[in-house]
């Protein structure tokens, strides 16, 4: 469940960020609604990128723990 929620949050956050920034640019420059449309689409792409990164990260975490096994880390040199 935590994993699914993470993907959802990553995806939605990028779209919200894109939409808000686009709305802000429109509000400043008076170009309603063009900047918002463009940035929403870019936000969509950024969301997909975020989800891909999160998935890659999780896969590498799983691979790491699979190769090192469940032996606890015993480095205490510092």
């Amino acid at each position: 469940m935590g994993r699914a929620f993470r993907f959802a949050a990553e995806f939605v956050a990028a779209i919200i960020a894109g939409g808000l920034i686009g709305y802000g640019i429109d509000w400043l420059a008076g170009t309603t609604p063009w900047a918002m449309i463009v940035l929403l689409l870019l936000g969509f792409a950024a969301g997909v990128l975020n989800v891909m990164r999160a998935a890659a990260e999780m896969n590498s975490d799983v691979a790491d723990s699979a190769t090192t096994g469940s032996v606890p880390d015993d480095d205490d040199e510092d």
């Binding site: 935590g2 929620f5 993470r6 949050a9 990553e10 939605v12 956050a13 990028a14 919200i16 960020a17 894109g18 920034i21 940035l39 870019l42 936000g43 792409a45 950024a46 969301g47 990128l49 975020n50 990164r53 990260e57 790491d64 880390d73 205490d76 510092d78």
Partner: protein, 258 residues
Amino acid sequence: MAGTDPIHQFNIIKYFTFATVGGDGTPGSGVELAFTNSALFMALVLALVSGYLILSTQGRGLVPGRLQLVSEMFYEFIANTVRSSAGTEGMRFFPFVFTLFAFLLVGNLFGIVPYFFTITSHVIIAAALALLVMAIVIVYGFMRNGFGFFKLFVPSGIPAPILVIVVPIEILSFISRPLSLSLRLFGNMLAGHIVLKVFAGFVVMLSGAGFLGIIGAILPLGMTIALTALELLVAALQAFVFTILTCVYLNDAIHPGH
């Protein structure tokens, strides 16, 4: 139905007011700086964490006692997390990451205790912490790499025409980080506590409906117990997710350009 209102638990109560900033002196104008129940529980969390750590490391035995062992496990756990996701160089951020994790973990777990206020269920707390993380990433990224920090937005090995599209996407992806970081923590805590309160409210309502109601109230009661266990998991997990993502973002500040 004040007793079963699921949102009531998130009310901010002002205990006393320090000062009023701005405004023209009339009541209700300006920004009031008040000591609220949220501030009280933040102070309690800090007092508990620092009190425990100071107390448990008093002895400094070579063979740790039970209290000291917990502190050491806490340290080892965070140190390993920082090292594995931000490298040895990331250890300079260890105090920050450790504080963040301890604050979030204890703050989330405090929320489970009945009548305790859940500080992380307010988006302003989560957003302030996420913005602090991003501020550190940006400031340290520029301090360490100068303008090389912009390599974060320019993936290597991509032809120039495509960069026109990719760079804005990367920038948006970066901007969305504090948003997703704070929304996830706050959303999980808020939703979990509302669901818990709604099911607990069913118990109260059903048991008011006579003998059969009390028999029926066993079902939501079991659900409430199960949800409390789930909330314990979510509280620890969300604190850990926030911490590990902080480490990942700090790693970006140390080594930009993927």
